[in-house]
């Protein structure tokens, strides 16, 4: 069974002549790590919003664990299943204390308090914020705030987390913390991840990459397959990781190296 089933989806914003999404089809299985890349306006964020029912398709269907997102009375079940993390760390924090912030969603769905305690502690541990329970949220760094947002989602025990450019506003240190956390949740805890990003290095961490342009998924494949298409990616205003560019340049010079995505890979291939 697929966790997410997106079938022939089209979506148009009110008053806009062109649809923001056209003919979108894909399936996501439990435990997948998918990243979605595309220039501004390519439809990435719209797609994310459809997955957790902030928007509904005009055409086609989205099934989350076989529940159609058009079923009004099931919206909250779906949102519990598909957690969402946004770009701006400051817009997602509701409480003044770390543990209260994680507990917020659980209190809203009337989870017993002993269970809340258990889930909050567990979630904070998973994002490496244990010990920060009674810290003030506004004093956290950007990376810590994003990990707190992720903890709030994990506490709801979703089967899937959609992250819409979660590192765009962070410094390199914060970016690393968040990406490490996402990798850990996927590889060690089996949580399905859909990561929308502008950082091509982050997309290389995923198992599959979807490339969006003008509202459509134009390419999909493993990171190695996708980043072979340097010229196409450039033509739709994406860049490729620097290390891929270097490796590509070396191949053109006749140096025999395999497909490479990381600095470690390149250094190993050369020396």
């Amino acid at each position: 069974m697929s966790l997410l089933d997106v079938i022939g989806v089209e979506f148009k914003y009110h008053g806009q002549p062109e649809p923001a999404l056209k003919n979108i089809n894909f399936k996501v299985k439990q435990g997948d790590f998918i990243s979605i890349i595309g220039a501004n306006g390519s439809g990435k964020s719209t797609l994310a919003k459809l997955l957790n029912v902030l928007l509904k398709p005009n055409k086609g269907d989205i099934l989350v664990e076989e529940i159609n997102t058009k079923e009004k009375e099931k919206i909250w079940d779906i949102r519990k299943n598909v957690g969402m993390v946004f770009q701006n760390p400051d817009n997602q924090i509701v409480a003044t204390m770390v543990e209260d912030d994680v507990a917020f969603g659980l209190e809203n769905i009337a989870i017993p308090s002993a269970e809340i305690r258990k889930r909050v502690d567990h979630a904070l541990k998973l994002v490496n914020l244990d010990g920060y329970e009674s810290h003030e949220t506004h004093k956290l760094s950007g990376g810590q705030k994003q990990r707190l947002a992720i903890a709030g989602i994990i506490a709801m025990e979703p089967s899937c987390i959609v992250l819409d450019e979660p590192t765009a506003m962070l410094d390199p240190q914060g970016r690393k913390e968040v990406i490490d956390t996402i990798k850990f949740l996927n590889k060690e805890k089996g949580i399905t991840i859909i990561l929308i990003t502008h950082f091509m290095e982050e997309a290389t961490v995923a198992d599959r990459v979807y490339v969006m342009n003008e509202g459509e998924i134009k390419l999909q494949g493993s990171p190695t397959e996708i980043f072979r298409e340097i010229d196409y990616l450039r033509s739709i205003n994406l860049d490729v990781p620097v290390v891929v560019e270097v490796a590509n340049g070396l191949k053109k010079e006749g140096i025999n190296i395999p497909d490479i995505l990381t600095i470690d890979g390149l250094v190993d291939a050369l020396c």
């Binding site: 220039a39 240190q173 620097v242 290390v243 270097v246 340049g249």
Partner: protein, 286 residues
């Protein structure tokens, strides 16, 4: 000399006594392109806010184009006309009904004549890569993030500053937006002789654009030199939890493996050439 800081120290909270800036001495020349790097909280933003007198230091002296801005009763309007500052996420400060009005806000405050304001808005929008006729009557709030940011930058350019400071201007932009911004900064620097001071976490931007790099840590300037000099201090930068430019990282890693390779290279083309040369010479040796 355009800007000079002498023994500048700044403390935000006297009770805690933490020095946001700690005895800074710095000279910036006309037509410099300076890149400032440092991890979050190292004092970068506080430093640049000193340049246009947005903050006055707790102690020390600052001169901007010969004006001592740390003196009482200094003409701040004049200082801020010389030094324009584009904040982080400047699009959050857009407020007018139309793009035209937003960009014209500063020139209006200078009490310029209508046709001079018109001209300035046109030139500023054009420089920022936005078509005047297409954008002038649109609401800034209905534009894309990248376009909003360019409107905000145009608002500062319309003041005709001689020094332009930008605090993380590419944060959150997509690759195309970043490329356009880089091209704009290059054009302003080369064709319009504007002195540019750029704060960025993106080392590629810093190495490709600036002629001088300043590295900050705990309110102090810890490195100050050409990109080639500064990025040769690999261990120092790593100890400050700063990333190296990716190209530099690759070359250093190869050298650690015993390859005889230059590490003061910042473009993909040069790196490819250097590595190709290395592989060729290894082949010959075999």
């Amino acid at each position: 000399m355009l800007i000079e800081l002498k023994n500048v120290t700044h403390i935000y909270n006297q009770k805690q006594g933490i020095k946001a800036l700690d005895n800074i001495n710095l000279k910036i020349d006309e037509h410099d392109f300076i890149g400032i790097v440092g991890h979050t909280g190292s004092g970068k933003t506080t430093l640049v806010q000193m340049f246009n007198s947005l903050i006055k230091p707790t102690s020390g002296e600052i001169f901007v184009d010969g004006i001592k801005t740390t003196k009482k009763n200094v003409d701040l309007n004049r200082v801020r006309q010389i030094v324009g500052l584009v904040f982080q996420y400047p699009e959050h400060q857009l407020f007018e009904e139309t793009v035209y009005k937003d960009v014209a806000f500063g020139p209006n405050n200078l009490k310029l004549k209508k046709d001079e304001i018109d001209k300035r808005v046109k030139v500023a929008l054009d420089l920022a890569g936005l078509d005047f006729e297409e954008f002038k009557d649109r609401s800034p709030f209905n534009l894309s993030g990248g376009q909003q940011r360019r409107v905000a930058i145009a608002g500062v350019l319309a003041m005709r500053p001689r020094v332009l400071i930008l605090d993380e201007p590419s944060a959150g932009l997509d690759p195309q937006g970043r490329e356009k911004l880089k091209a704009l900064l290059k054009r302003l620097h080369k064709n319009y002789n504007i002195t540019i001071i750029l704060i960025s976490h993106r080392m590629e931007e810093i190495t490709q654009l600036s002629n001088r790099v300043i590295v900050m840590d705990h309110g102090k300037i810890v490195l100050n030199g050409s990109p080639k000099e500064v990025f040769s201090y690999k261990e120092k930068l790593e100890s400050l939890s700063l990333e190296l430019p990716e190209i530099t990282e690759i070359l250093f890693r190869l050298r650690e493996r015993g390859c005889d390779i230059r590490t003061d290279i910042f473009t993909v083309e040069e790196a490819v050439e250097e590595i190709t040369k290395l592989m060729g010479s290894q082949k010959d040796a075999n």
